[in-house]
Amino acid sequence: MTSTDDLIRCLSSAAGAPRSASLHAALAVTIAASLACALLLVFSVIGIRQDFAEMALRMPFWFKLAYTGALVFGTSVVALYAATPGASATALYALAPAVFFLALGVTFDPTGFPIMGRTNTAVAFCLSSILFLSLPAMILTFVFMRRGAPTQPFFAGAIGGMLSASIGAMAYTLACKNDGTAFVATWYTAAWVIMAAIGAGVGYRVLRW
């Protein structure tokens, strides 16, 4: 009897133990909780726009919501792919809608607002707000990734960062004062890329199992 046989007997004795929830369910819970945390921070720390009721009816807000929604959808599908061993890479196509909105926002900006925002500090404020709002999502997303079995820790970490940035950006649409679609497409995406880089660095270290 080798130690491997002992190990196998030990492992198989755990058969039929209550299963942990499927990754789909875990991801749904993660996204809902992350969005709730981010919204809580928007309401309590940043504050929603003064003219929210009026703004919510106009096109720029709908563009922001559509773009961030497409990001959340795309990155969550890819996150599931990254957390599942041997999953099909066609999941990457889920990012197509987000890319479409990004291209649309940059090339056809009907609003004519400057790409650097209405004030000098607009870019810095927008970036730092989105990064701040992504923090709780970042933690929750990494908890999800650790429940899963990411076989490419670097990639899985980057996707985790992207998903949390998408959720942070979605919550930030309630507070964002810049309505130019080029501004939104550029700077929301910049925050998204920063979070992807941070996530990749963290993931490379913590997502090994």
Binding site: T4, R19, L23, P85, T151
Partner: protein, 202 residues
């Protein structure tokens, strides 16, 4: 067993595990272990690792498979899932071992200085070493040990010089040696422990 048969058999066994069928699951783990052992051995050797490490790797993979079995969607094929886990564990295992090897063959600054130090300094260095070791002895013992072991005088001369009997000198030497050995043992467990750990792996 063809690939299709194996796929069906193992997927069925993992589904059976979910309803608590220990026997089917245990048999499947054994089959996986056997298959992995056979196919991974040449790869592990090619990666520059010892053949004895195959068993460690197989165990790592089994633990990974067991710990992450909830990530397998039972409507999807099982073998691609197992392949991804095996591949990840193989690469991770090699990475770990590479890192350990790097630490083991590392050349720290002290060792490098030992290499480049001129031999003349070496003698002074060793004299200083001796003094440092003898410092654990009381003054009277130190004088006698230094006279006999370092300066090479005979027991008779020392006994004359210190105005005592030869027997007393021998007893003193004996006590000093016991004391030095005790001190050496204490320092070796503190200082040289990591080095012994290294030697074990060589």
């Amino acid at each position: 067993m063809t690939v299709e048969e194996r796929e069906l058999r193992w997927a069925e066994a993992v589904r059976a595990e979910r309803s608590g069928k220990t026997v089917a699951y245990e048999r499947m783990l054994k089959e996986v272990a056997t298959a992995l052992r056979r196919s991974l051995a040449p790869r592990v050797v090619r990666a520059g690792l010892g053949a004895h490490e195959v068993e460690d790797l197989v165990q790592e993979i089994l633990i990974g498979l067991h710990g992450k079995r909830h990530t397998w969607d039972s409507t999807r094929p099982f073998l691609p899932w197992l392949h991804a886990i095996t591949r990840y564990k193989l690469i991770d295992f090699a990475r770990h071992r590479r890192r350990e090897t790097r630490r083991r063959v590392d050349l720290p600054l002290e060792d490098w200085l030992e290499i480049v130090e001129p031999p003349a300094d070496k003698a002074n260095h060793s004299m200083a070493e001796v003094d440092r070791h003898l410092a654990v002895l009381p003054v009277s013992q130190r004088k006698i040990v230094r006279a006999i072991a370092v300066e090479g005088e005979s027991v008779r001369d020392v006994a004359l010089g210190f105005a005592t009997s030869e027997g007393a000198v021998r007893v003193t030497i004996h006590r000093a040696i016991r004391r030095l050995l005790g001190a050496a043992e204490r320092t070796s467990t503190i200082e040289a422990a990591p080095r012994n750990e290294h030697d074990k792996h060589r």
